[in-house]
């Protein structure tokens, strides 16, 4: 696969947090590929490392966390080797991230317009160099951005503060700020988790629409497989700091290879399953401190054997499909 097709290539990323109880390997050898124009879904439960992986990509991991090893290539440049100043230029302009909780992510003391202007002022190179012309251009662009994300009467709402907007509107504002410099990659971290289902549908459709219009790539971090099924081309399933399965969304959902993915799909209650027992995954996510180098899903896996007590690598299980389960190699060898 040519480098040209891949916008982002993360290779062997390890992000750790030093805590009083020991080192937490929150992200432990994660590879990610984001292709140009695609929407990649990243699915996992709390503590799976999905947010930390992409905070690492954004260069937002702070002490006591640190990137221990691995490379993060964006258009061929390794972001882990950039100076903070070089990284600042990329963050926002080329890669943007929206946070789950729009209320805490937005600055309550600045108007929405001020926060949009800040982003445009820092990153938009098409603006007039200085003076009133620049200010007017920023204002116009800000109004245009709010209109793009579907906020009614954007001109007057620009001067309002975040608390004057509803949850759905705040999420739209954050998307507007993230999109303002025209990034090539938008990382949306649980953009709809805090929202009602009718508002969720609006926000997700908005992201899909804008992606199609601007031709950017989107990483959609979520715990909801339904959202992935509706909006993502490919999906990556994470568990306890590792990727356990990835592939085209249709393939992964219709034919899951890893027991965790199967368990996750089996855990979703559905109208059609009424009266039949659902099959929850037993137990809970292991403590990430001092994990032995075995399959991380071992303690909860219905199909575990002694063979699982060793380090398990990702393996190819079909065209563009990978999964991390020892049972799959045995099948291939046979």
């Amino acid at each position: 696969m040519s480098h040209n097709e891949n916008l982002l290539e993360v290779d062997g990323l390890r992000t750790v947090f030093d805590t009083s109880e020991g080192m937490v390997r929150a992200v432990d050898g994660v590879d990610v590929t984001v292709r140009r124009g695609e929407c990649l879904g990243v699915v996992g439960e709390s503590g799976s490392g999905k947010s930390v992986t992409f905070s690492s990509v954004m260069g937002l991991v702070r002490s006591p966390g640190r990137i221990e090893s691995g490379s993060i290539r964006f258009e061929g440049r390794d972001l882990t080797r950039l100076s903070p100043r070089e990284m600042r230029a990329i963050r926002g302009r080329d890669i943007s991230m929206t946070m789950q909780d729009a209320l805490t992510a937005l600055n309550p003391a600045l108007t929405v317009g001020e926060q949009l202007s800040e982003m445009l002022d820092a990153h938009d190179e098409d603006l007039p160099a200085r003076g009133g012309a620049r200010r007017r251009a920023i204002r116009d662009k800000s109004v245009e951005m709010l209109r793009l994300v579907g906020i009614p009467s954007p001109d007057s709402r620009l001067d309002q503060y975040p608390h004057e907007f509803s949850g759905g509107m705040r999420q739209r504002i954050m998307i507007a700020i993230a999109l303002a410099p025209g990034p090539k990659l938008l990382i949306a971290d649980e953009p709809t988790t805090a929202l009602d289902v009718t508002i969720q549908a609006q926000v997700l459709e908005l992201i899909s629409e804008i992606r199609a219009r601007l031709g950017m790539s989107v990483v959609l971090i979520t715990h909801d497989l339904g959202v992935v099924a509706e909006h993502c081309d490919r999906v990556m399933v994470m568990y306890a700091g590792q990727v356990v399965e990835e592939g085209a969304t249709v393939d992964v959902i219709s034919n899951p290879q890893h027991p965790y993915t199967r368990g996750l799909l089996g855990s979703i209650p559905r109208l059609s399953l009424r009266g039949k027992p659902i099959r929850p995954i037993q137990g809970q996510v292991p403590n990430l401190v001092g994990l032995p180098p075995q399959c991380r899903f071992y303690s909860r896996c219905p199909d575990r054997t002694e063979a699982c007590l060793q380090f398990v690598e990702m393996r190819n299980v079909g065209s563009d499909r990978r999964a991390r389960c020892i049972a799959l190699t045995q099948e291939e060898v046979a």
């Binding site: 289902v197 009718t198 508002i199 549908a201 459709e205 959202v227 109208l271 009424r274 659902i278």
Partner: protein
């Protein structure tokens, strides 16, 4: 399921209004204080052994309704009958006794357990309040037994809530609700704060306990898949009112109210992505401080006509036990057929 002569819970015309505080100046000037009609003239019943799912978006009044039923929030008007007895008329002492039989599991397993009490104290409190155990040893023994049943064990008795994960805390909350052997439980979004795999474990547990102990649930959730999976009947709420109610299969498979239809079409479906035609509901829930006149859904409804702006629709029966409040019911329309996008974006 149609109404029998003696449902376990019968709610008639229940309303809950929160009054705003009024300044002296406004009172002298005769300005009306603001008020929020969180629950407006709601009637329903729950049969013994049944799960009634109550679904709606945030702010629709579903949690207020659940609490008003238990008189955790005092209803403003209407009547709640539990096993034939008028709960709304009970004295404080009689209400306390009644609460042994009616319990609640809360949404937030972090906020609903006292961080300074041990599990034995938290789960054992109902036993002490209702005089169901004579000695401390008996309390501990009974608590240990119920902990076992919800998937914890006696080793957890002297631990504090912060030592547990979200799923385990929800199990503690369930143990607390069950220890007095109630007949009826209001489950107020008990799985919303949990991860998918843990959510499935808790749903499974609640269903098992219901069969074992012969429980009746009023199950409140915003998640249609959860409600669809475990409810016998469903009630859909919008801005304080029930707009559609009936057997789960009828309501969710053949929703008749345009709001239920829109809600169903907004749920992403893991089995059949893109199967549904989308109805994009314009705008958001109107402010309950100033709800629309007429049908409260008309500001977002793709099917709204002039009559909807003037007059609130009356609930009508469309099939046995299935009732819908919509002016355009007789025309048998659906929001999908119109192809219209509601209002302006």
């Amino acid at each position: 399921m149609t109404s029998t002569a003696n449902p376990l819970l019968n709610v008639e015309n229940l309303s809950k209004v929160y009054e705003g505080r009024q300044s002296l100046a406004n009172r002298l000037a005769g300005v009306q204080p603001f008020s929020v009609r969180a629950v407006n003239d709601v009637s329903f019943h729950v049969e013994r052994g049944e799960v009634l799912g109550l679904i709606g978006e945030s702010g629709c009044g579903k949690s207020t309704l659940g609490r008003a039923v238990l008189r955790l929030h005092e209803p403003t008007a209407g009547r709640v009958r539990f096993d034939g007895e008028d709960v709304t008329a009970l004295s404080a002492g009689a209400l306390k006794d009644m609460r042994r039989r009616m319990q609640i599991v809360f949404q937030d397993p972090y906020a609903s357990l006292n961080p300074r009490s041990t599990v034995a104290d938290i789960v054992g409190l109902p036993l002490r309040l209702h005089g169901l155990a004579r000695t401390g040893a008996e309390v501990r023994e009974k608590v240990a037994r119920i902990l076992e049943r919800v998937g914890l064990n006696a080793a957890h008795l002297d631990r504090y809530p912060h030592q547990f994960s979200g799923g385990q805390r929800q199990r503690i909350g369930i143990a607390r609700a069950l220890i007095s052997h109630p007949e009826f439980i209001v489950c107020d979004e008990p799985v919303s704060a949990l991860d998918v795999s843990i959510q499935a474990q808790i749903i499974q547990l609640l269903l098992e306990l219901k069969d074992e102990m012969g429980l009746t649930y009023l199950f409140i959730s915003h998640d249609i898949s959860v409600i669809g999976y475990l409810s016998d009947r469903v009630a859909v709420m919008y801005l304080g009112e029930i707009v559609e109610m009936g057997p789960t299969d009828d309501v969710l498979a053949r929703p008749r109210h345009p709001y239920t239809q829109s809600l169903m079409s907004a749920v992403p479906d893991v089995d059949a992505p893109g199967k549904h035609q989308r109805v994009r509901l314009a705008g958001e829930l109107p402010s309950p401080l100033d709800p629309p006149k007429g049908c409260k859904f008309h500001t977002r409804c793709p099917l709204a006509i002039d009559a909807c702006k003037r007059e609130a629709p009356v609930s009508e029966q469309v099939a046995p036990g299935h009732q819908v409040a919509c002016h355009r019911l007789a025309e048998d329309l659906s929001v999908w057929e119109t192809g219209a996008e509601a209002g302006t974006r």
